[in-house]
Symmetry: C2
Subunit: 237 residues, 2 copies
């Protein structure tokens, strides 16, 4: 098996992190291409479709042999059974994928807490709108999404979304909790009280051998104010 | 083969429409459950997870035999080969799925043109922000997304996204063009000039037997101001 090649912006966890966590948990061999020399140029070239039959719209994308796969949930759908982070039967795979696509929707809303008006504008140019967006996000949307995952874990019997075995969705839930704690420490404390099973998934994932080693390594980029989860204290409530 | 059961809000095309178009093009037997008696209650019950092992987060979802599938792109991924609207080989299916997920992202941004601050608020309570959002959407985002699909069709050799055979992604592109024309007639005219291949997909899809019959039937709900694509003239430019 050739090494996987992950293409994502260097310098941020961003959407690429959901893929990194799966690769790292499984101990898979991969290159984080854009963190090497000239990496950003390589991303841009592939998006322009130079020599690519299937040019992706945006990073992250993964090269596995000859196959190029874009979109986080699609990448994880592909990797899941290979990394033993998803069952092989169709019904379970589709269910897990629906859950991951719900993570995707949630991540977009997290992003929009600091960019509600336009991705092309700076945060500084949309601060009052961001405050309003973040307010309803923290009051309504985040509890709704996390409450949904809480119910899913409860129904599965736990401790993970599918039951006893960890999946890539659980790794993503770890990232959501971790990110919310970084971006909105006060609100996260309040929201977490109602979703103990989700918090327990976070804690269990953090202790897994591959994840623990990854988090302690310099491969884990620190959260920062260029990523999805940004710590702007004025948005926390 | 049992009939498919589609669960989606009655009264709007919304996200359910992307699934309806695939079912209708293929002439598949399906029930649009919530348009029958007590339909909305049935949706709510399934989301509450009453008796459902895999409760969905939001409509649309599709019941196929014992399998319940949520998220538009996931449903289409499942239906694609069965309805002969996708090839069966893995690489093509993943590529098509990435394209559909890009449609999903685009649809969310269309929705946000009238709801940039909070889905829980009325449009009337976020009009200035909507105008700003819609401005950059029409100037930057819509051309970027459609330009991407234009390039994809060009690379495939056309006339469809994968080449000679129509796929569910082409049906979705029909819906995007149709919706943009309804919501933003002036801007659509301008934007379409740069994406002739996308417009050609729209026109070819509109003439397909199943789609033509569907559009002329009362099963096609008219665009309206409760859906994703809303005609608010003040947002058009």
């Amino acid at each position: 098996m050739a090494r996987y090649q992950l293409f994502y912006w260097p310098g941020i966890q961003g959407r690429g992190e959901f893929v990194r966590l799966a690769l790292e948990d499984a101990g898979a061999a991969y290159d984080d291409v854009a963190r090497g020399k000239g990496g950003t140029d390589k991303i841009m070239a592939m998006m322009k479709g130079q020599g690519e039959k299937h040019p992706p719209f945006a990073p992250p994308f993964l090269k596995s042999g000859k196959v190029l796969i874009a979109q986080v949930a699609n990448i994880l759908f592909y990797l899941g059974p290979k990394l033993k982070l998803a069952p092989r039967d169709e019904a379970s795979r589709l269910w897990l994928h629906a859950l991951q696509l719900t993570v995707t929707d949630f991540v977009k809303e997290v992003h929009d807490t600091h960019h509600p008006i336009a991705t092309g504008l700076y945060y500084e140019d949309q601060k009052p709108e961001a405050k309003q967006y973040a307010g309803s996000f923290l009051k309504e949307r985040a509890p709704k999404y996390l409450g949904y995952f809480e119910k899913v874990i409860e129904k599965s019997g736990g401790p993970f979304v599918l039951g006893r075995k960890v999946t890539y969705v659980d790794l993503s839930l770890f990232q959501l909790v971790d990110g919310l704690r970084y971006a909105f420490p006060k609100a996260a404390k309040r929201i977490e009280k109602k979703v103990p099973r989700v918090v327990s998934v976070h804690d269990r994932v953090a202790k897994r051998k591959g994840i623990k080693a990854y988090l302690a390594s310099d491969r884990r980029i620190a959260f920062n104010e260029d990523g999805i989860f940004r710590n702007y204290p004025e948005l926390d409530a």
